[in-house]
Symmetry: C2
Subunit: 325 residues, 2 copies
Amino acid sequence: MSRPVALDAMGGDRAPRETVAGALLAASVGVPVVLVGDEAVLRAELASQGGDLPIVHAPEVIDMHAHATEVRRRRQASINVAMRLVSDGEAEAAVSMGHSGATMAAALFTLGRVRSIERPAILAEIPSEAASGRVHLIDAGANADVRPQHLVQFARMGAAYAERMSAVTRPRVGLLSIGEEPTKGNQLVLEAYPLLAAAGLEFVGNVEGRDVLADTADVIVTEGFTGNVVLKLAEGEARILFGWIKEALTSSLKARLGALLVKDALKGLAARMDPAEYGAMPLLGVRGPAFIGHGASDRRAVQNALLRAHKMANSGLMDALAALE
Amino acid sequence: MSRPVALDAMGGDRAPRETVAGALLAASVGVPVVLVGDEAVLRAELASQGGDLPIVHAPEVIDMHAHATEVRRRRQASINVAMRLVSDGEAEAAVSMGHSGATMAAALFTLGRVRSIERPAILAEIPSEAASGRVHLIDAGANADVRPQHLVQFARMGAAYAERMSAVTRPRVGLLSIGEEPTKGNQLVLEAYPLLAAAGLEFVGNVEGRDVLADTADVIVTEGFTGNVVLKLAEGEARILFGWIKEALTSSLKARLGALLVKDALKGLAARMDPAEYGAMPLLGVRGPAFIGHGASDRRAVQNALLRAHKMANSGLMDALAALE
């Protein structure tokens, strides 16, 4: 029996109902899960949903308004207990839909950094026209200000992830910039370009905003400020465009009739664009698989996050990251 | 008779055919236009399209591969001649679909800066859920690295533009960041926040990527690196999503039948998302209306750019920008 994925069952706006429901869904398809949180609360939630899962008691919760510095003090908070299960070898991965800053802090503090990585970074998968169906964006929000060599470390981690998690051979790595020529960009990008070109990666040079979702690169490297803006804009735009499409499809009787016929086809596309499809994002560069999800995650997002955490723990990626130079 | 808008008729991948065609369209709806470029070429193009417009001869062209530093040397290049018509008071505005860097350089060199603006910036209008139907993003690409006070200058220019060009009263100004709290962001944003809060604008605080197209702000302020990525991603994602929708609508017989009925409704939406709708972007902070368009602009984009340039020249915006503190 493999070790379970530890789920911070108290984290997220819709915990514990959706976290527990998502855990039961993941368990039903063979992912071992342990719930971390207030035992009485979780026991009651499991009973009301008619399911059963192991629980590790954690009496404290770090709420969404807490300052990340509280994390260190609150040793018995569910996110800290979940991370400790990973560092103690009792869980293969940790997942939280709670306070993102707290999850990052807990992962850094409890798991520690991989030797060659100075700045752990968040990797986001975004649906794209690339052959694997997605582009891997790193850093999606962990580090707002970085130095050029950090972008090289992000690139190495992103490429390792794309290879092992998305089965992309020799992933194409692009540097997010504002022009294709190596002379275009801000100071950070101008300095990072030659470092990336010499890093032994499949470096395809600068990639512009219009190319992010095109079949231009498998991994796109940027600092966590632009990366977070890109991720949230990509998600937000899809949501708003689908809203406008819905409006357009009810704008006339003819359109409403047609809408009945195209509904199924568009539903598949909307599902593909739904962030819940990916569930949560890994923080790469810490010594253990740690996933950070949307606070608003529903059971489907929780289930997908647990599936990906389980996959990552068994993908060989952690060894590959530990071996990076 | 008002002064004409000067069009760099040689600039852009599809010049002179589309530039001349767009100029004739704009003239047909009452915008006075003067074509700037090689007289023989433009005369022949006008003849072949069966139209007539005044021409100011400019024997040189700055092509798409030129370095921006060439601009200063090539005094007789069409973009320089167009800008000189503005600075000499013979044209009310200048528009180019050519080399963006060259157009910016020509505008800065020939028109000069507005007194209180240290760094002219590009303003982009992007379709959004705001009441005016658009969000005004500044800087969309002129300055890759800036200081906090430059963001305040961008905010003042963006607000003045939204008021006079989009009829927004007390435009809401948001600072693009990666969290809503004033403590979230990179160093630049953290330092700019208090300056913006004290600037006497309708400052709504930080705005995230997911809010860019939502009804959150009328003006979004950022440096030209993130701004350019945002603009191009917003355009690129719309294009790719519409491509996927088209695929989905041909994925089955049922969907194809429905597509016939919803086609018109979706076409209106696609047209709204088309960058050609806005035509070109103004460089704000130089002493004269100067517009920079996509190299790939077609006649519709050229026409819309000329309409907006004419509108801006007669909007009182230039006086408002000159009066900024």
